[in-house]
Amino acid sequence: MTDLSVLKERGQREVFCGLTGIVWLHRKMQDAFFLVVGSRTCAHLVQSAAGVMIFAEPRFGTAILGERDLAGLADANEELDRVVDQLLERRPDIGTLFLVGSCPSEVIKLDLAKASERLNQRFFPKVRILNYSGSGIETTFTQGEDACLGSMVPVLPRSHDEPSLMIVGSLADVVEDQFQRIFDKLGIGPVYFFPPRRAANLPPIGKGTKLLLAQPFLSDTVRSLIARGATLLPSPYPLGIEGTTTWLKTAADAWNVSNEQFKQAIAPSVNRSAIALDRYRQALAGRKAFLFPDSQLEIPLARFLSRECGMELVEVGTPYIDRLLMDQEINLLPVGTALSEGQDVEKQLDRCRAAKPDITVCGLGLANPLEAEGMATKWSIELVFSPIQGYDQAADLAELFARPLERRRRLTV
């Protein structure tokens, strides 16, 4: 294991809370509805992030706590039941309802676990009610997905312990399909993707289940899956050609696929993605990158940027490092890479300005202000919303970082 020196900082954190996960999870699982139990701030957050899309039928909402709820004048449980009734009446098509905890509901210790248990007694099997916390005090951005998937683990059906592969973490549909084709060629199967495209189609789990993580921010989900008998296949994440190959190889080894068969299966994809990636490598090689903490994707991204795009890493910030999930990646970083965990945003901005990186990966609260200071930025949230995993997306991923540079080259005004 790599001996790590990591700068740990505390101060103002310029990050999203876990509620933001709803913005992509509602699209991934279209039969699910996300009901935040929180304040107007929570409602405002989710709609500010997703409200630019015009919804005929929103797939998320907020049960806003009022003064009566806080004063204990209204029985919170009765209130919640009433709101859920109202919602399910309006939307009888909902198959899975997530009650999502927030900072206010956590601070006043509203027991959503009990509430969902009670509601399940009334609505299951027509509607399954689950709960998780997306609060800012407990979760940072993508950890909301971890919490959401974690809430589904206990209700996954038990398999008969036959060998199967479970890919854990939201992937774009197109990426899932590509991986499925490669696994088919390798003779690996059955393969289940978690989360599924419909929350009603839950994958089975048991002693034969091997876990391959598509996303690095699933600490709790992985641990609960392991607790249900599954085995983790530790691997770097499928970003870039190298990451994808190592990731697939991890599964192939677990299935005793011969080296030849493996090479044969991946060769066409590897060849074409290498050609595609080369174009952007030329644009990125030798450039300096500075990554602000956001999604926990930063370390795998930094590994891809340095090893496959030839970039120089100034600082790699991440909100949280889970060694169980990250050591495989950290081992691949150049020795001495400056890692930071947590944040004091003003100090980090000072370091960033002083280093004058060629590209700064940061959130939208910082991006335009840094651009106005003359720095090229890549807004990091897009990396969670774009298909970036797998061979055929390796060049697309590099392009996301090359695009701001290319744009600056083109613009003359």
Binding site: T41, A43, I137
Partner: protein
């Protein structure tokens, strides 16, 4: 607990941020959990600001709750003062911080900072964004000007008639609907009638500017939701009259000029006359050159030109903040010839005015911040055009009704690069274009009414919008807003909606009645259907035939 799919306003601390961000030299320390920094994006993304909002968040986490969160406040205040050296500091809480009661305002005041500290008490569970902005502006102005208030009953000295009157413009904030360009347009209007601008606040003002507010002869309360409390306080303590007319629309702009004339005791008759004398389309060279300095709007001529005849009696539903809703209602009915079939606001503080106006039009105002209640009212009124907020765009999409945005809340497309005021002469031009645009063009409307079976120009199609809409969905949505519809954005079999309103009991449509109903033009069909059903129910008719439909039409009109 209140089920909310969309909220019209953010929490009150976002209102405080709108004031702080609008200003220079003010810093806001906000006691808030990790994640509440999302609000920065409203300014850097929706408004595309090139600087971070002047806000320091304590961003506490769960592990801090066991420890000393009050100490975090002090550290944040100290660091923010050292780093940003503001002239005034605002200190307040977000909703979660309100629960843990660290009293950050009093803490900060006890720290002995060499600048004024304004402690904000914004109850997040009962108040909302505009209230927060209004309250913040009021406390900021009050804190700075309290030491210099005039003794009670002091009269302002008579202004020398050779000196041009000076006005403050109060109310424009960050994230306000078109504030940036409204200010420019209003300043232009004032220049036209010989009034100078003293201070514009909070947008662009420093604390030192706020200190100069008493120098003006009167205050223009441009956005009452934000400014009225402050203007009232200034009127009481500095004897500054308030201009209350909001110049949105041609008529309101004329009234605005007239009101200023009266308050400032200046002659504005020339400007008013000019505004009426030449309102044509500027088609010859002389007019084009004079149009560079147009003291009039093109809206009156555009609206009178025959192309606009088909706009007469278009049924419109209006919702937004009270200021914009009231202004829109006047424009819609008096300047564009629409029929008002619904009006409402989420600004409870101004409910009375909206109710009064609704009464004049024989309708009941919708005073609500409940999105679902508004949606039900829109469906019930079956309008042909919805003028509302970003939230009404969702409603209009669901019901398949054309929509234009007239008020916050807004999203990024309503902070355009081009000059787009709502106020003054040019504002009326902008309004004419943006409200008429979503409606079907006249010729197309006629042809679709005549020939129903065109393979390209089908029902609900609006070729000037370049979209081949999912016609099945739209047709269903409008003709029967109360039954199941598909969602064109996803798989149509997945979304099943329940009734928005109850069907009239015991009435069925006969086959020929239904066939005849389908021949009614798309946008008015919902209304005709409802009228006919009511007509039938009133007369005890149980099966509606085509004759029933025409009898109802004759009895009720369109």
């Amino acid at each position: 607990m209140e089920l909310t799919l969309w909220t019209y306003e953010g929490p009150p601390h976002v209102g405080a941020m709108r004031v702080a961000t609008a200003m220079e030299g003010v810093h806001y320390v906000l006691h808030a959990p990790q994640g509440d920094t999302y609000a920065d994006l409203l300014f850097t993304m929706i408004e595309r600001r090139d600087r971070r909002p002047p806000v320091t968040y304590t961003t506490f986490q769960a592990r801090d709750l066991g420890g000393d969160t009050a100490e975090m406040v002090k550290t944040s205040v100290r660091d923010a003062y050292e780093r940003f050296k503001p002239q005034v500091m605002l200190v307040g809480e977000s909703c979660t911080a309100e629960l843990i009661q660290d009293q950050p305002g009093s803490l900060a005041k006890s720290m002995g900072l060499p600048i004024p500290v304004v402690s904000l008490e914004l109850p997040a569970y009962s108040k909302k964004e505009n209230w927060g902005a209004s309250e913040t502006l009021y406390h900021l102005v009050r804190t700075l000007l309290l030491p210099v208030v005039l003794p009670p009953n002091t009269k302002r000295p008579q202004r020398d008639s050779h000196i041009r009157p000076k006005a403050n413009i109060i109310g424009p904030t960050a994230l306000g609907f078109r504030c940036r360009d409204d200010i420019r347009e209003v300043v232009k209007l004032l220049a036209e009638i010989g009034v100078d601008v003293n201070v514009i606040a909070p947008m662009g003002a420093t604390p030192a500017d706020l200190m100069r507010i008493p120098d003006a002869d009167f205050n223009i309360c441009l956005y009452p939701e934000i400014a009225l409390t402050t203007c009232t306080w200034l009127s009481r303590n500095f004897a500054q009259p308030i201009i209350k007319t909001v110049p949105i629309g041609v008529g309101a702009t004329r009234d605005f000029i007239a009101e200023i004339g009266k308050v400032a005791e200046i002659d504005v008759s020339h400007a008013l006359a000019r505004s009426q004398s030449d309102t044509l389309g500027n088609w010859d060279a002389a007019r084009i050159s004079s149009s560079a300095e147009a003291h009039a709007s093109r809206l009156p001529w555009y609206s009178r030109s025959v192309d606009s005849t088909y706009l007469t009696g278009k049924r419109v539903f209006i919702f937004g903040d009270a200021t914009h809703a009231l202004a829109a209602a006047r424009i819609a009915t008096e300047e564009l010839g629409f029929t008002l079939v619904g009006i409402g606001t989420y600004s409870r503080e101004f409910a009375r005015e909206v109710r009064e106006l609704a009464k004049k039009h024989g309708i009941e105002a919708v005073i609500s911040d409940d999105y679902l209640a508004v949606e039900a009212k829109v469906a019930e009124a079956a309008p042909e055009l919805v003028l509302g907020t970003q939230m009404e765009r969702h409603i209009a999409k669901r019901l398949g009704i054309p929509c234009a945005v007239i008020s916050a809340p807004i999203h990024v497309q309503d902070v355009p690069a081009r000059y787009s005021p709502q106020m003054g002469w040019e504002g009326a031009n902008v309004i004419f274009d943006s409200w008429v645009h979503p409606l079907m063009m006249g010729l197309e409307e006629h042809l679709i009414g005549m020939f129903k079976e065109d393979f390209e120009f089908a029902e609900g199609h609006m070729s000037h919008l370049h979209t081949a809409t999912a016609q099945e969905t739209r047709r269903e949505a409008t003709s029967e807003p109360m039954v199941s519809i598909g969602n064109s954005a996803s798989h149509s079999d997945q979304v099943v909606l329940t009734p928005l309103t109850q069907e009239v009991a015991g009435i069925t449509w006969s086959l020929d009645g239904e066939a005849e109903l389908k021949k009614i033009p798309f946008f008015v069909r919902g209304k005709i259907k409802r009228n006919t059903e009511k007509f039938a129910s009133d007369r005890g008719i149980t099966s509606i035939t085509s004759d029933t439909l025409y009898e109802a039409k004759a009895a009720i009109g369109q």
